[in-house]
């Protein structure tokens, strides 16, 4: 526990003496009898060897976004054609450096988020408030235990974990400096470290808020909550929370309750703040996610918009003001250029907001922000119209020259120009189709040389859809129960459950959100366990079958075959990773404490988990997913994921790459390319579906498990591609791997592919030399 710390905060300061010193040694004098593993509080190099094993097997693959580099005062430098920059870097190393930068920015955001939450809860509940995820969860913090070797018991213990992360982040960021690290694999190893730290921060954030705010503690059947652009009741004052940090919203809900206003004010959320507020109170409504943020602001559907942190459009303050909405920023990361009124009396601030003297303010105190938000909304709501006002005269469309620029900046390359031209002729169909697929980037808007507010037109064309947009989602349940792990551990490892497929990521899709729901349903129907979180979880809710039911209404919320589990916000992604860790620990009894490599090795070799991040936007997505790969969980991104410019790709055609150690003998043994890639950017849904079915195959699948996985793989392959896979022979070890009913059909195919039966190592395989039995 080399880096553990005892944190003493908020000492009485004026005379520099200690009042009420509270030294928490929870993580030190503890009752966790498991001896610590080899890598407690890992440094930048503690897991470097593990990373290099992964990176040699899954070589980084780069797709540079630009030929140049412009990071420093020497630049910019042209790195095309093998040229080096003025600092000596080449384009490959520079890509690695960029990946590290993305991951460390992402990790810093989640860490800051966790820190703000923990600070808030410590202030509210005290440092010794227990971490408690309910009676059915003993392993309350699988990632924290795994990574740091600490078993956190109180909020105070979490502070120590965050200090460790902050220190590591500073060190990692330092490697980004021009003229430091020399090697792309070392940059990637550091990126993996950043990703792991990111995941750790997610867990800290979520277990803190679950413990402190009474969120569901792994209940499979959380209540349904309302979601959609049309769910808010405009007859009441409306407050919408945007971002990720629940604190101001929680304070608002509590203030409303105290003031007897709960039924009189409408509280909505956008992005993860929405998720987390519904976990706190099922009456809060989810309005939308990132892809609709700008439209939500433009409609002026809120009286007051409260910003916290992360995934907030950079122009939202400006847009809100234009719509007459008052804005309250609440966190130092997002000051928004607003005057800091934290120290001013509530009355004065409300007065200034209501009168419009200030359209927005910064209040760095969630409870004060809550009171100001409510009182302002109540004051100004009666003065505005009830109906959403029409966004813009569609007449604006008539100014369109058809120059096509709007299409040529559109992220998903939608035919915006044609749609605007059609609208100019009175036909809104195309524009309404664009509305469906639009990711809300707003670039069409600002590029138009005729200053046509294109996005507003799109919103106008979709107005009927907006009004009708009402769905149901199961509120985020948080962690997976230990009992669930016990129940599914065997079927997952043995293969009766073909795999765990996680849908995460941002609402930046190539062809609309619908594809995410379709993929989720495909796997749920096949009785994979489907888990989801964040924007993806919201988008899954925006899809109804013919009977008008959403997937959350059709499939159970349990972590079991055929379930669709909404864990919650982005920070709840931690539980998805945590579930894999818990399977290794609870079901397979692998030691957990500070034992990262062994657990990751176990997951990579045995647990058929895969993540599909169909839309990605900012650096947090990159960080979370990178962390997952270090744990041995492959990630599939949608096509826009190439913008992150790196993949980790295996070479299924090169046999030497697939030779882990036989655990018993220590011999290197060919296992086939399983999982084939660690990070793959798929072009289409059809590709992703089949690839996911392939990636859940692992070297140590049991015969039965492999045959069930193969059945699904073959089935999907045939369904989507109309034929049998050319790589079938790579995944069949013995005849018993084949689905029983198809053996006769498949054996001849296999032989034509040059297949020969292989042995299946009895005790399985590992990448870790030290886990070979005879070497222990």
């Amino acid at each position: 526990m080399k880096n553990s710390k005892i944190v003493v905060k908020e000492l009485n300061s004026a005379l520099a003496k200690i009042k009420g010193l509270e030294i928490l040694v929870g993580q030190i004098t503890e009752d966790w009898e498991e001896p610590p593993g080899p890598t407690p509080f890992p440094t930048l190099t503690s897991l470097r060897e593990w990373d290099w094993k992964l990176l040699k097997k899954y070589q980084p693959f780069y797709s540079p976004l630009c030929d140049r580099c412009c990071l420093c005062g020497y630049g910019k430098c042209d790195l095309a054609k093998g040229r080096k920059g003025a600092c000596g870097i080449d384009i490959r190393t520079q890509q690695g450096r960029h990946i590290l930068l993305e991951c460390v920015v992402g990790a810093s955001a989640h860490t800051t988020h966790a820190k703000h939450l923990v600070d808030y809860l410590v202030k509210k509940l005290g440092r010794s408030h227990p971490i408690d995820l309910g009676s059915e969860i003993d392993i309350e913090a699988p990632l924290t235990r795994l990574i740091t070797g600490v078993k956190p018991k109180t909020l105070g213990d979490l502070e120590g974990v965050l200090d460790y992360i902050g220190d590591q982040i500073t060190q990692l960021l330092s490697s980004v400096l021009t003229g430091q690290e020399q090697n792309y694999l070392d940059f990637e190893s550091k990126a993996l470290h950043a990703g792991m730290l990111d995941n750790l921060a997610l867990e800290v954030a979520d277990i803190a808020q679950i413990s402190g705010l009474g969120y569901p503690k792994g209940d499979a059947e959380t209540p349904y909550v309302e979601i959609g652009l049309g769910v808010l009741d405009r007859n009441k004052p409306v407050i919408i929370f945007v971002g990720h940090n629940a604190a101001p919203g929680v304070e608002t809900v509590e203030y409303l309750a105290r003031s007897g206003l709960s039924d009189k004010v409408e509280v909505g959320g956008v992005c993860c703040s929405a998720h987390d507020l519904t976990r706190f109170n099922r009456g809060v409504k989810i309005v939308g996610n990132l892809s609709r943020q700008q439209l939500i602001a433009r409609t002026g559907m809120a009286d007051v918009l409260v910003l916290d942190q992360e995934c907030i459009r950079v122009d939202i303050v400006e847009e809100a003001f234009k719509a007459g909405t008052r804005v309250i920023a609440t966190i130092d990361q997002v000051c928004g250029g607003l005057p800091n009124r934290t120290e001013d009396p509530v009355d004065a601030v409300v007065e200034d907001l209501a009168s419009g003297r200030n359209m927005g303010v910064l209040i760095l105190d969630p409870s004060k922000a809550a009171e100001v938000a409510v009182r302002t909304a109540v004051k100004i709501a009666p003065l505005r119209r009830r109906e959403l006002k029409p966004l813009a005269a569609l007449a604006e469309a008539s100014r369109c020259t058809g120059c096509g620029l709007c299409r040529r900046v559109c992220v998903p390359d939608l035919p915006v120009d044609e749609a605007v031209l059609a609208a100019a002729k009175g036909n809104l169909t195309k524009l309404s189709e664009v509305y469906d697929l639009c990711v809300g980037c707003g670039r069409c808007d600002s590029v138009c040389p005729r200053k046509i507010p294109v996005l507003t037109l799109i919103g106008e064309a979709g107005m009927e859809k907006i009004r009708k947009s009402k769905y149901k989602i199961r509120a985020g349940r948080g962690p997976i129960l230990d009992t669930e792990i016990r129940n599914v551990g065997r079927p997952i490892v043995m293969g009766e459950i073909p795999g765990v497929v996680a849908f995460a990521g941002c609402s930046n899709y190539p062809r609309g959100h619908i594809e995410v729901a379709q993929m989720a349903e495909e796997f749920a129907r096949r009785r994979y366990i489907v888990v989801t979180s964040g924007c993806a979880a919201m988008d899954i809710a925006r899809y109804k079958d013919e009977e008008g039911r959403t997937l959350y209404e059709k499939y159970p919320g349990s972590f079991d075959a055929g379930g669709i589990v909404n864990t919650g916000s982005c920070v709840s992604n931690a539980h998805i990773l945590g579930a894999a860790v818990k399977i290794a620990n609870i079901f397979a009894r692998r030691k957990l404490r500070a034992n990262f490599e062994e657990i990751a090795d176990y997951i990579l070799n045995r647990i058929g988990a895969v993540a599909i991040v169909w839309g990605t936007q900012n650096q947090k997505a990159e960080a979370i997913a990178t962390g997952a790969t270090r744990l041995g969980i492959p990630v599939i991104l949608g096509p826009k994921g190439v913008a992150h410019r790196r993949a980790y790709l295996g070479r299924p055609d090169v046999d030497e790459k697939w030779m882990p150690y036989n655990v018993r003998s220590g011999e290197k043994e060919y296992t086939g390319p399983a999982p084939e890639h660690l990070w793959y950017v798929a072009e289409t849904k059809e590709e992703a579906l089949v690839l996911a079915a392939r990636l859940v195959m692992r070297p140590n699948d049991t015969l039965k498990g492999r045959s069930i996985k193969l059945r699904n793989y073959l089935d999907l392959y045939r369904k989507l591609y109309g034929t049998l896979p050319e790589d079938l022979h790579l995944f069949v070890r013995t005849e018993s791997d084949l689905p029983v009913l198809e053996k006769d059909e498949l054996l001849p195919v296999l032989r034509s592919q040059g297949w020969k039966p292989k042995t299946v190592p009895e005790l399985g395989t590992t990448l870790l030399d030290r886990l070979v039995l005879r070497r222990r």
Binding site: D67, D78, A80, R92, D413, L649, T684, E687, L720, G722
Partner: protein
């Protein structure tokens, strides 16, 4: 330098040479081990009054080139032109193999020297072409999409649907002329 289709895509000074169909045909004729790669967005292009499936078919026949079809549209290609050798492979996987100079190509006869790209999602395609541009100096890439792809070695300029159709036809004509 032509402007890329999605406007922000200008990568630097090293941008694709734009070329006419005659020149494209010549490149194809001279290639020792060409490869045709069809992206997952190709069927979207159909609406533009070009039957890309047919075009690919004919191009494969005339050049004797193997064809890789993205999983996003493999099924349709297989159903319609299953008589030419089609491989279903994800583009990123394929590009990853291509960037390895020692990869023996789809036919095991050596890495390809000219790779024709058609029908990928624009942005996605652009990035994979970037990979090859930076890390596969052993091969050349040729984009035959309607939209200029700056990261290719050679690319059509952005053209009207009609122009594009004619250019594709012209390539086939040229190849036919020389083959016959």
């Amino acid at each position: 330098m032509a402007a890329p289709w999605q406007l922000a895509e200008v990568p630097g000074l090293e941008q694709a040479l734009t070329l006419k169909p005659e020149m494209a045909a010549k490149l194809l004729r001279n290639a020792k081990r060409p490869l045709i790669v069809v992206g997952g967005n190709v069927l979207g292009a159909k609406g533009e009054d070009v039957d890309v499936v047919k075009f690919v078919h004919r191009l494969a026949e005339l050049t004797g080139s193997p064809v890789v079809v993205s999983p996003g549209c493999f099924r349709v290609f297989r159903e319609r032109i299953g008589d030419v050798p089609l491989t279903c492979m994800g583009l990123e996987d394929l590009v990853n193999r291509m960037r390895d100079e020692n990869w023996q190509g789809l036919r095991g006869e050596g890495n390809h020297d000219l790779v024709v790209f058609l029908g990928g999602i624009y942005f996605f395609q652009s990035q994979l072409l970037s990979t090859l541009k930076h890390f596969a100096s052993h091969l050349k890439t040729l984009s035959l999409d309607r939209f200029y792809q700056p990261n290719a070695t050679f690319s059509f300029q952005t053209a009207t649907e009609d122009r594009w159709k004619k250019d594709l036809e012209k390539i086939l004509e040229e190849l036919e002329a020389k083959t016959s």
